[in-house]
Symmetry: C2
Subunit: 486 residues, 2 copies
């Protein structure tokens, strides 16, 4: 009566590994991972040449057959990996560092292998709660009330995007194209990108002048808003940076909050870099006022030293996120009965996504929050100390006292802008060529190329910052020797 | 002359683990993971009650101090995890399954621990290339030309969102609010959500009627477009589903492509569920025509059995993605010199994000593409066989021959819609109460509640599908006994 059951797949090409095979694979990977992490301090901070070769070594069409564990791991660790900026190492003082806590890596091993779906409560209530704990801890850290909530994103860009969407939905009519948003000329470009993705013309993003500390100038802001209102535009969103990527500046939050309140703008604080300094006393002082923001972006893969892949958006009233992001379908499980519980898919752009909660939760559980506080305090100390030391170096000018863990400086050179910038790029290249540390530069609003040291990797301690300073001093001397006119 | 260097963090609260500690943590996690995976077949497919208890057991404020490895792992594996839908297990036939290849979990362990930044070529050229390989393999699979490209997303929602943004940018003026998009009434709700996030009023999403095979009806589509044009609206995007979530239906791609061409609409194919059947001969036949789409969504965490967290958007001309998503800043490294290379941040919404390429690349390298083909062929066979078997069960009606690996059926019951739906929900509940398999239902456009079996977990083989069928038969008998009127 029945048709014959279908054949099994070819047993010679299994996709599922036996427990022994899985254990062997994990063991081999663990060996390489632990060895790699243990030797990070001795690995170069960046690379010199060989990019094309590294890429060519691993370029290939889709492999039809499998390869042995050892061969594949060698390809990753010995061929693809060595030629790279060493973001995980203690010498990484570039961009905004993070680090890569191996505890989070283990969390992903677990979260991926168990492959549950904690995005909605009903599908995995215990695991959902681990992620909900994390979101609540972050709300408490910001000083948010019970009404607050949010979600873990893939990074700051996604978080900032959802903030723009929430603000657009909350403050503008459906025909929103006359809506204008405000941020300093130092704001992270993900805000402009978010506005563009959300449908705004990029010219609706007003880059308001910053002061000589690179902080948004409230007077310039008030003028910009007034001018736009006169022109019939609809100011709706103010983005304050709490730790700019360029210089680590913190916009004057209380004053901006007051302007936002009076002008009825949504206030979003991009604290992707600076937010987790709220775990320290100095950070809380410097970020005072953040708790009145309508939304806040945090980046655990920055200030909590997590591997890349975890940002966070919090909203003071989580209902603003559900109104702008909530949309269900008949094939989905029902939302939680308890209104205090929010399924993450209802407040974020995603439906299926990885278990981000575990990679934040596990390090906190294993190490405790105080270990993070200690680290962040040390980073504040190190940046302050580096700024003081740099200020003493002849030929170096520190542009601004670090508000957090980022020092901006430049080589003082006679000459025009182009010549000055060339001299500073030369210093940057010389320092990076030594591969003890990796630093980057940026441009000030005036077009001045300046150098940055951002201390945020949990593996960076005094010895490496000292090394950065001695490399800078020595490179300055060398460059001065080469070009006595400088 | 120098100020004293800052103090070190309290050595009693280290954040960084020693190599021996890391190895111990990974070993303990590996033990739990391998044991969990080895016993998946014996674990219940879902849970009955206990959700509140599971959540309460792990609810706590931010822990200030750390806890021992064993205690924390017990909390995850013994308290939080058991109460959940078992998406990883062979009995998961609900929604769209995936599975959770442990090879990908190991890839994340590695990718997180090394924490490089392969999103841009210059930062990690070898690792970037691993991800670029994956994107190229997928382009080849779709049949795309050299001009194609794309990125790995967090899932299908993010991929669909970027498709809408790319289409909006490519086909509409900056004032785009009169733009209308078209999809069948079976389309995944992430399309409507994407349109809403991208700034469109949700009513601009036209849900065109589907035929009795749940496929978009081309005549209804032509009429809808014509009516909108007459009303002064601007049709710009047609979304075809290649494997709907509700019933697995594949919209008539060649006919829709022809309409899109003639009407100058962007054609996006949401192949999140069905796309990887392109690895099989039957899949290629059924998805013929997909290569002319302007963009395609694929979900490796569905058809490649990956853990949640990896979708993909491909565009026939990758420049359409850079034009709509590319935006750089002065603090970023420069884009690649080679125009054939594209930094992923320039074609996607994200800047910092995890190393998604490795979790796709590693399983392909270790197992070979043919192992995936075998699995997908088996899933097609199993669904077909299940449909045939179900069609033979008295009191069961199969609604549509499976085009892929999804069977939709219902209990045939006399009575009105409400009564029929109640009877089908009762069958669903009875089957799921046995916890051998977990299946879900959905609503047809007519409001009919129907049941679905989706075979896509790589751990699901004949024995479990047989079990699903016998559970259905037995539950039908039991329900008939309880309510002889049914």
């Amino acid at each position: 009566m029945s048709s014959p059951p279908p054949p099994e797949p070819d047993p010679a090409r299994p996709l599922e590994s036996s427990p022994a095979e899985l254990r062997e694979l994990i063991d081999r990977a663990a060996e390489r991972v632990v060895e790699h992490v243990a030797t990070l301090a001795d690995q170069p901070a960046s690379y010199r040449g060989g990019a094309e070769e590294a890429a060519a070594a691993v370029t290939e069409p889709l492999p039809q057959s499998g390869a042995p564990y050892a061969e594949v791991l060698d390809l990753v660790f010995d061929r693809a990996l060595p030629t790279s900026f060493n973001n995980a190492g203690p010498g990484f003082l570039a961009f905004i560092p993070g680090g890569g806590l191996v505890e989070s890596a283990v969390a992903d091993l677990i979260g991926d292998a168990i492959n549950r779906y904690p995005t909605v409560f009903v599908a995995a209530p215990g695991l959902y709660q681990l992620e909900a704990n994390v979101v609540r801890w972050f709300c408490d850290l910001v000083g948010y009330p019970e009404s607050a909530g949010g979600f873990l994103s893939s990074g700051g860009s996604q978080a900032n995007f959802s903030a723009v969407v929430a603000a657009r939905h909350d403050r503008l009519p459906p025909d929103f194209l006359r809506g204008t948003l405000y941020a300093s000329d130092q704001v992270h470009h993900s805000i402009t990108k978010a506005a563009s993705l959300a449908g705004f013309p990029v010219e609706n993003v007003r880059k308001v002048a910053s002061d000589d500390g690179f902080r948004l100038d409230p007077d310039a802001l008030r003028e910009a808003i007034a001018a736009d209102r006169r022109a019939g535009l609809q100011p709706f969103l103010l983005v304050a940076s709490a730790g700019t990527t360029n210089t680590g500046a913190i916009d004057p939050l209380p004053e901006l909050a007051e302007i936002a309140r009076r002008e009825e703008l949504w206030l979003h604080v991009d604290a992707a870099y600076g937010g987790f300094f709220l775990l320290t006393e100095r950070g809380r002082r410097r970020l005072a006022g953040i708790d009145v923001a309508d939304s806040v972006t945090l980046d655990p893969h920055k200030g909590l030293f997590l591997p890349y892949g975890t940002g966070c958006l919090l909203a003071r009233d989580v209902a603003t996120l559900s109104r702008s992001h909530g949309l269900r379908a008949e094939y989905m499980p029902p939302p939680p009965d308890d209104p205090r519980r929010v399924d993450f898919c209802d407040v974020s752009p995603e439906l299926s996504r990885g278990f981000r909660g575990l990679r934040v939760w596990l390090p906190f559980k294993l190490r405790g929050a105080r270990a993070f506080t200690d680290q962040l305090d040390e980073k504040l100390d190190l940046a302050l100390w580096a700024a003081e030391e740099l200020a003493r170096v002849e030929g170096i000018e520190v542009l601004a006292e670090p508000e957090l863990s980022l020092v901006v400086f430049r080589r003082r050179v006679e000459g025009g802008l182009e010549e000055r910038n060339r001299a500073n790029r030369a210093l940057l290249d010389a320092v990076n060529a030594r591969q003890n540390v990796f630093i980057t530069g940026t441009l000030t609003p005036a077009g001045e190329f300046v150098l940055r040291i951002c201390v945020l990797n949990f593996r960076t301690h005094l010895d490496r910052v000292e090394r950065a300073l001695s490399d800078i001093r020595e490179c300055l001397d060398e460059l001065a020797g080469q070009r006595p006119s400088a």
